[in-house]
């Protein structure tokens, strides 16, 4: 029994088949990668795994317990957190505030018009701890807009971590990043994997092959290949591709 498991997922939108009989298993403490051409169904797959879309058929389990049919909020409180391809940050707020708003204790905090959130040292400490994990503690009191694109991506991961998830889903974390920002992100993922189970959709195959323990290739709404990076790279056509050349270099 894997830590997080999806079995025989089906999803259609009208006559368009987006997922057809997809089964995936993610092990605790591993980085699992999902890759596939544009339009192959990767993001829909994430939406279904994290409860944003209900599957037409199929089962999803976290630590052996079914989470199929639960609301995204309920699934999040059970320990499933995710980032999106398009960043969702509060630009006018300071960095730390973005994280504070996502802390579970912020939501349970009693409404108080007297003391501001920044006077709540427990909240500030908890948020600082999260920012420390994503390397942004020194920028805590700057406006979110002052961050570079790569730092904003790190902050978004921080927002996802604020919920203290058991498993973290990242949707194309390198999208829009330059080579230096991508290297920084790879270092961040390496640090995070010590504490979290991570699932990443990624277009940058080099990034994924370097970081993932196992990779599932999705195409036509199905898992067409699966394996460790080494197993997938052994394929003759992969060796002939730009990816193969990079691996040999």
């Amino acid at each position: 029994m894997a830590f997080f498991e999806a079995r025989n997922l089906h999803k259609r939108f009208g006559s368009r088949v987006v997922l057809e009989n997809i089964s995936l298993a993610f092990e605790r403490g591993q980085v699992s990668g999902i890759m596939g051409p544009n339009g192959a169904g990767k993001t829909t797959c994430f939406h279904v795994l994290t409860g944003l879309h209900q599957p037409d058929r199929g089962e999803i389990e976290l630590e052996g317990k079914s989470i199929s049919g639960l609301s995204p909020q309920r699934i999040a409180t059970l320990g499933v957190s995710r980032s999106f391809q398009i960043m969702n940050l509060f630009d006018d707020s300071v960095v730390i505030e973005n994280v504070m708003l996502a802390l579970p204790e912020f939501r349970t905090r009693r409404l108080s018009f007297l003391g501001g959130v920044f006077d709540d040292t427990k909240l500030v400490d908890a948020a600082t701890d999260v920012l420390d994990q994503v390397g942004l503690a020194a920028r805590a009191w700057e406006k979110a807009t002052s961050l570079s694109y790569g730092e904003r991506r790190a902050l978004e991961i921080g927002v996802a971590l604020a919920a203290r998830p058991k498993i973290l889903f990242l949707d194309e974390p390198t999208s829009g990043l330059g080579s230096e920002a991508t290297r920084n992100l790879a270092a961040l993922v390496r640090r995070l994997r010590e504490h979290y189970t991570i699932v990443m959709i990624e277009h940058d195959m080099r990034f994924l092959f370097e970081l993932a323990d196992r990779i599932s290739v999705i195409h036509w709404g199905q898992v067409i290949a699966e394996g460790t990076p080494a197993e997938l790279q052994a394929n003759k056509w992969v060796r002939r591709s730009a990816l193969g050349e990079a691996a040999l270099a």
Partner: protein, 207 residues
């Protein structure tokens, strides 16, 4: 055991004009594939390849003739179960759209839980990203699980022919609505209309 696929004196005729309708396109096909495996399909644009795929999946109705998938006449199967027999993959996604003159209650069950015939319509092959290898492995896996795979390729680069030679056991060449089954890759590249169609790619391959 019924053959995987029987295309029996199948015709599809398109007519246009009124009052005297003029025939604008005619597709004729008559072939069968007994065993699971991988069949390569080639032919110029507009020759009828996609129409043939639509007739095999039952999303388009024939003018005459029948298509049987493992012995079942696809056009008599309930529209909501036809995809349990045959499915048509577009470049990166799948579409299911079926219509029938008869309600499903009057039609037959598919009798299969997972599609037996998988038709791939010009998958995007590019040597840059390595997906080719994963796609070819997927075709091999389907074939190994007892399915019949059709791979339609419009070769415009030399490696497209390499792919067909590597993975396909038999071939079908379609031109101007005429469907010609061919036993192997050597037969394909010896087939005169195919040589004309491939033109420079063949000499490039020999070089």
């Amino acid at each position: 055991m019924a053959p995987m696929l029987e295309v029996d004196r199948l015709t599809k005729v398109y007519r246009r004009g009124w009052p005297a309708a003029r025939e604008t396109f005619r597709l004729e096909a008559d072939f069968r594939v007994e065993e699971p495996g991988i069949v390569g399909m080639m032919g110029p644009n507009g020759s009828g390849k996609t129409t043939l795929f639509e007739l095999i999946t039952g999303s388009n109705s024939p003018t005459s003739g029948t298509v049987r998938v493992q012995g079942r006449d696809i056009h008599r199967v309930r529209t909501d179960e036809r995809d349990r027999l045959a499915i048509h993959y577009h470049q990166s996604y799948q579409v299911r759209h079926f219509s029938s003159l008869y309600p499903n209650a009057l039609l037959e069950r598919a009798g299969s839980a997972y599609p037996m015939v998988h038709l791939f319509d010009e998958p995007q092959f590019n040597t840059q990203d390595g997906y080719i290898g994963f796609m070819l492995d997927f075709f091999r896996r389907l074939s190994g699980e007892g399915r019949l795979v059709f791979l339609c390729v419009h070769p415009n680069e030399r490696f497209h022919l390499e792919i067909l030679e590597e993975i396909c056991e038999r071939f079908i060449f379609v031109q101007k609505g005429t469907v010609t089954p061919i036993a192997d890759f050597d037969g394909l590249v010896a087939h005169e209309p195919c040589r004309t169609y491939l033109g420079g790619l063949l000499t490039e391959r020999a070089a």
